[in-house]
Assembly symmetry: C2
Homo-oligomer: 460 residues x 2
């Protein structure tokens, strides 16, 4: 589908009247909104609108609906599967100016935020309240984007993903109508779970303009630890036993030797260049002590020797910043290179097989691809470090990613643990879920967005 210049111009006139200089067709602005952090080809929108509130988003969508113009919500631009690329042109709705935390209900452990709020901004804001929001993808993403991709991160093993931490949403529908999917009760059985329907729908069913989030008390005690293993399999076995033992670990992250080397260089750490776990424990002083002793014991049983733990906030922050910068560290391994992140997730009993077979593939390839993983959930990423202008390298990454996904699916896993479908995983959905389930998704999309204006070309 491609929209005629005439239609775009008519829509632009109306949007211009609504938004003034917050409606832009400047090439630089369009380019900035045409590409996320992924390897997918840039597709600039025709028009970029900067919305300031839900009512305005509704008016923008109504104008787009009138002209049947594609609408692509835009947050941090940090997605990893081309989610915000305007493959059919249209209007990018930039939500970054909607960045207010509108309510914090301390007694109820919840808060209400606009979609442009960044995860770090939220936690800085919350610090004095003694509360925090745990979901932490690598990038400093927006809460709206995280909701839209069903994001998670390093804390998911303890606190769940976005789907587990949202009480309700305000959504602008494809006809501009505004709905609220629920109240602030901790649980409800009142009809279809619209909240979970919109979480992970990647802007294809509507635009999320307000999010009510669950919060948690900052634990009385927090300890972090690093521990190096003789090989990657021992590290994974330690993870499996930790999870199976029911230890309520808050973070359990695997880095392979290549990734450790990369972050040593990028973040100035001096870890042994071996398979390594980054761990974090939350609880009372006693409980944190007890948990870390148990995990230390498990790791020693699998041959680890240098379990180092700390309760110093500074050391912890440094460690986790390094972990969050893993992708950037990978990229920095090669001057001018780009990064392509994979995202499979498998049942934990298959994690070791999946990772070992993947490492064998990598050993036979010339591409560099550090490995990091939220291994407590069975989720891990490779970061292919490559030259996107080199078709051979791109084809090799494609080949390795495709084999990796087939492997994960054969193990009852998923092609995407937390990044979402976007453009990159569309072709795998049917092998993962079957024609029937994908057919249901297509039915939902057609029913809720009959003119296919909401982020067309994604998921389905």
């Amino acid at each position: 589908m491609s929209v005629s210049a005439n239609v775009i111009e008519n829509a632009r006139l109306e949007l211009d009247e609504l938004l003034g200089d917050r409606c832009s067709t400047a090439q630089s602005v369009r380019d900035q909104h045409g590409k996320d952090e992924s390897w997918h080809i840039a597709c600039p929108p025709d028009i970029v609108c900067f919305a300031q509130n839900t009512a305005e988003v509704s008016e923008i969508v109504k104008i787009c609906a009138k002209y049947k113009l594609p609408v692509i919500p835009f947050g941090g631009g940090t997605s990893l599967e081309g989610h915000i690329n305007a493959v059919e042109g249209g209007v990018s709705v930039d939500l970054n100016q909607m960045n207010e935390i509108t309510a914090v209900n301390r007694e109820d452990l919840d808060c209400v935020v606009q979609p442009g709020v960044r995860r770090k901004q939220l936690n800085e804001f919350l610090r004095d309240t003694g509360l925090f929001f745990p979901i932490d993808p690598g990038a400093d993403a927006t809460i709206g984007g995280m909701a839209s991709t069903r994001a998670s991160g390093t804390n998911a093993v303890r606190y769940g993903t976005m789907k587990d931490n949202i009480l309700s949403l305000t959504v602008v529908l494809p006809n501009g109508e505004i709905i609220k999917t629920g109240g602030r009760a901790k649980k409800s059985s009142a009809g279809y779970d619209l909240t979970r329907l919109y979480i992970g729908s990647e802007g294809t069913l509507g635009i999320i303009t307000e999010i009510t989030l669950k919060l948690y008390g900052i634990p009385e005690a927090i300890a972090a630890a690093t521990v190096s293993f003789p090989d990657i399999e021992s590290a994974i076995q330690s993870v499996i036993l930790t999870i199976q033992s029911g230890i309520p670990i808050a973070r359990i992250e695997l880095l392979d030797d290549v990734q450790v080397d990369a972050i040593n260089k990028y973040s100035g750490l001096d870890l042994p260049v071996q398979a390594t776990l980054f761990l974090e424990f939350h609880g009372s002083e006693n409980s944190v002590q007890e948990q870390s002793e148990m995990v230390d014991g498990i790791c020693q049983d699998f041959g680890a020797k240098d379990f180092k733990w700390t309760t110093q906030a500074e050391d912890r922050t440094r460690l986790w910043q390094a972990r969050h910068d893993a992708a950037y560290a990978a990229k920095a391994l090669r001057v001018g290179a780009s990064m392509w992140a994979t995202d499979v997730c498998v049942p934990i009993s298959r994690l070791s097989d999946c990772i070992m077979q993947t490492k064998e593939d990598l050993d036979k390839s010339y591409l560099i691809a550090p490995l990091v993983g939220h291994v407590g959930d069975g989720n891990f990423h490779l970061a292919f470090v490559l030259d996107m202008d080199n078709p051979n390298e791109m084809a090799e990454a494609e080949r390795l990613n495709s084999r990796l996904i087939e492997r994960a699916l054969s193990m009852d896993g998923t092609c995407t643990g937390e990044h979402g479908v976007g453009l990159g995983k569309k072709k795998y959905l049917k092998s993962e879920l079957g024609e029937g389930a994908v057919g249901v998704m297509a039915t939902l999309k057609a029913a809720l967005d009959p003119d296919n204006i909401m982020n067309p070309g994604k998921i389905i």
Copy 2:
């Protein structure tokens, strides 16, 4: 809508051929399938089919689709809002013969069950594995029914509800097609969350025929406690502070004096007839000790004097069986009486107001209504003990329930925390969620079940 006798007879012939004596039109069988445990008027189906596997459910649904005959999935018959009443006649699909636990993956902490498996059956089966499934509505419901109503129970404050504990579903669609909504990965961002769409859809979008559940390790230590308060408000304040302190309590249940009196009589306990909390702590020996000391301290600050705790399995079982029998105990307060259970849930900061105002209403009424609550989640129930043949008593219960729901909604709560909509909460959905959100639900229903054959008359 009412289906002609001719159509029913033609369908019956086909179902009979498919199922033999597992297809019944006997009045007693139909009557047994026309009413759940609620106050709603019995509506027997025209035909009852006893299915033994997913393929058979698919064939049954195909026949019903051909004749546009209503299809009502039937599990334990323990629902509380008329979910299984055949308000438009049709075919009740009894799933009780599909009661196999088909896989337990100990390493992955998950299992696969058929929908007719009962929650107690599952935990008895699991006991030797060291694992358990935490969701526990009062009745010994089927897992399929619990999934269909998004059930929860006493453990939800720690372990979440059905929506948090299902990895994937097999669903027979209204055209008989069979889909699977996901694999066994702990998390996935692969498209729309079909799993959560069918959880809580009450059989109106399809029939759930297989469920992959999350399991948990049986905690190293479990302690239960009871503690009595001078008044109900002190009990609630203790709950609020416990939750806000981040104590990972597994169960925190409130019973008012009327309910305590009822279970003393029904279950042979001798608790002081006062507002009482039933508590449970899960963790290591140390952690359980620490948690219970902290909660004891909190309760004492609010005037409680007799915090009694036990780690004896026998005592714990007796206590929780009494709690699960609370509704039956309420019913037993009056010979020949029936029971009508309410189900609001509010943000915990409003719980005290909500309960106190509700108790004031009750004080002015002649109806008896013991109160129990999963108060850690802000969810509580009244059990009106009444004579269903007395229109005055029914009208009084209706009036009190209606005021209670309006109160909860004005506090940003929900009309149903865990029972579901069924017949009884339909009229409250728009006040709770708005025309727009209910409109989206109607659109989903029309798209996925265009002939409206799946459990018609429920939710929408």
